[in-house]
Each structure stands twice: as C-alpha cells, then as structure tokens.
C-alpha cells in the first residue's frame, strides 16, 4: 500500500490507463452483445486518453491534449455511426448478439 502512495502521478495514470484498456479488451472479446462491445470500445479509448494525458504532462507539451480532443471527437462520430448500424441490424435480424451475426461466414 505504501508503494501506491509513493508512485508518481505519471506512473499511476499510465498504469490506470493500461488497466482500463485491458478491461476494455476483455469486455470486447468476452461479451457477446453488440452494444456492450461498443461500450468496451469506448472504455479502451478512455484508457488511451489517460495514458496520453500523463505523457503530455510528462513532456510539458500540449500535443497530448490536442490529440485527446481529436480522439474524443472521433469517438463521438464513431459511436454515432456504429449505433445507427446496430439499430439497422436489429431491425432487420432481430438480434444484436455477435454470435448470431454470422451471415458472412462460409
């Protein structure tokens, strides 16, 4: 526990971002519902944002913050399109379970 308090902010946030990213990867691979998979995608992006923040503070540069803003905007656009696609798929096939969406498989 004392090592936790002795960590520098940079290390702490990088580790936190990596744990968030790995949790997102686990959720993306293990959950079989399309919407939850998209939510885990957002989790992954957030983990990366945290790492970028600590890098940006480490170098004293606003580069990381500019990248974070771009990532946030891209994530918003991607969430909009992905969710519209999901709604269309649901209307057509009646399910969003990733196991049932295998029409492209041979």
């Amino acid at each position: 526990m004392s090592t936790l308090f002795m960590m520098s902010t940079t290390q702490f946030h990088i580790v936190l971002g990596l744990i968030l990213f790995s949790l997102g990867v686990f959720g993306f691979l293990a959950r079989r519902s399309g919407i939850v998979a998209l939510m885990c995608l957002e989790l992954m992006l957030n983990g990366i944002n945290l790492c970028l923040v600590s890098f940006s503070q480490y170098h004293g540069n606003p580069d990381g913050s500019a990248m974070i803003l771009c990532i946030v905007l891209v994530a918003a656009a991607e969430a909009a399109i992905a969710l519209s696609l999901l709604v269309k798929i649901f209307r057509k096939l009646g399910t969003v379970s990733l196991d049932d969406l295998r029409a492209l498989k041979g």
């Binding site: 290390q11 997102g24 990867v25 998209l38 170098h59 913050s65 946030v72 399109i81 969710l83």
Partner: protein, 188 residues
C-alpha cells in the same frame, strides 16, 4: 516528484470499479450507466491533474452526449437482460482474460520497465506548466494541427450525414395499381 494524492487514488479505484461494472453486468442499462460513471470519473481524474479544459470537455462530450446516446439505443432496441447462454462461453471468457492480461503485460513492460517514468514526473522540471490551457491548445490547433482539426470537422460532418441516412425509415414498396401518394402524408 509529485506523488499521487488520496483524491487521485480514490478516483482511480472508482474508475476501475465502474469499468468492471460495464464489463460484467447483465443488464445493458446498468452497463450504460456504469459507462457514464466511468467517463465522468475519468473527467474528474483529469481535473485533479490540473487539466481543467480536457476534464470539462470529457464531461460535456463523453458523459453528457455519448453515454446518453448509448442509453437511448438500449431503450430503443428494448433489450432485456442479456443472458450469456452460448455454448463455450466459459472458454471465450477465459480466452478474453488471457488476451487482456497479455496486452496489459506487454504494454507495461514496454512503457514502464525502463528508467523513463520511474522517478520523475516531468522532463521539464518539477513545475508542470499547465499546457492544456484552452488558449494554448487553440493556438496549436490553428497552426500546428490544422490538418487534424479540419479533418475531424469533416469527419463529424460525414458522421452526421451517415447517421441521418442510416436512420431514415425504409418505405416498403406497395404492390398494386394505385400510385404511392406521398402528398397525403405531407398534408398532416
């Protein structure tokens, strides 16, 4: 070197708990609310680091718009509690866990194993300049990252158009002899 404060540790623990809630919960609405909580608390983490602008933008866009979109879609699709009854779900879960652990270990090894981030908090010295001031970021966006800025704008425009097109209801083609009279619908 600046050590973590108690507030940051607390926020970190709450962020991880919410992320676990997203991944592990059965009800998709609870998942979406946990996502909102994760995004909000991450914004709080940015604010505790001194990056007020990024934190405010995170709360505004992520927690205030994207998570709302997720909840809307879950309500629209009227998904009931999702039961994972696929055969082999334990194996898929275990494989996912292995993949996540491998990714974490490899990134940890590559980023934090060297002497880079161990002791120092910043290369620039002990005083971290608040480089995330809105003014400084905007100046950079208009000079150094102009292309990224404009491309992001175009991307969002494309996303809006795409979402509108994808959301249009499809009119079923009516069989028969009568013409499809669209003027009647507009008179309402």
């Amino acid at each position: 070197m600046i050590t973590v404060s108690l507030l940051q540790i607390l926020l970190g623990i709450l962020v991880l708990t919410s992320a676990l809630g997203v991944v592990l919960s059965r009800n998709p609405i609870v998942s979406a609310m946990m996502l909102m909580s994760t995004l909000f608390l991450t914004g709080g983490l940015y604010i505790s680091l001194g990056l007020y602008f990024i934190g405010a933008v995170q709360i505004l866009i992520y927690a205030g718009a994207i998570a709302v979109l997720f909840i809307f879609i879950v309500m629209l699709l009227d998904m009931k509690t999702f039961k994972m009854v696929i055969p082999g779900r334990k194996i898929i879960g275990a494989l996912g866990l292995v993949a996540a652990a491998m990714i974490f270990a490899s990134f940890y090894q590559s980023i934090l194993s060297g002497q880079h981030f161990n002791g120092a908090t910043s290369l620039a010295g002990t005083e971290t300049v608040n480089a995330a001031d809105p003014k400084i970021i905007s100046l950079h966006f208009l000079s150094k990252y102009m292309i990224a800025f404009q491309m992001t704008g175009l991307l969002i425009l494309g996303a809006i158009m795409g979402a509108v097109v994808l959301g249009k209801p499809v009119k079923p083609k009516m069989a028969g002899n009568f013409a499809q009279n669209t003027t009647e619908e507009k008179a309402i």
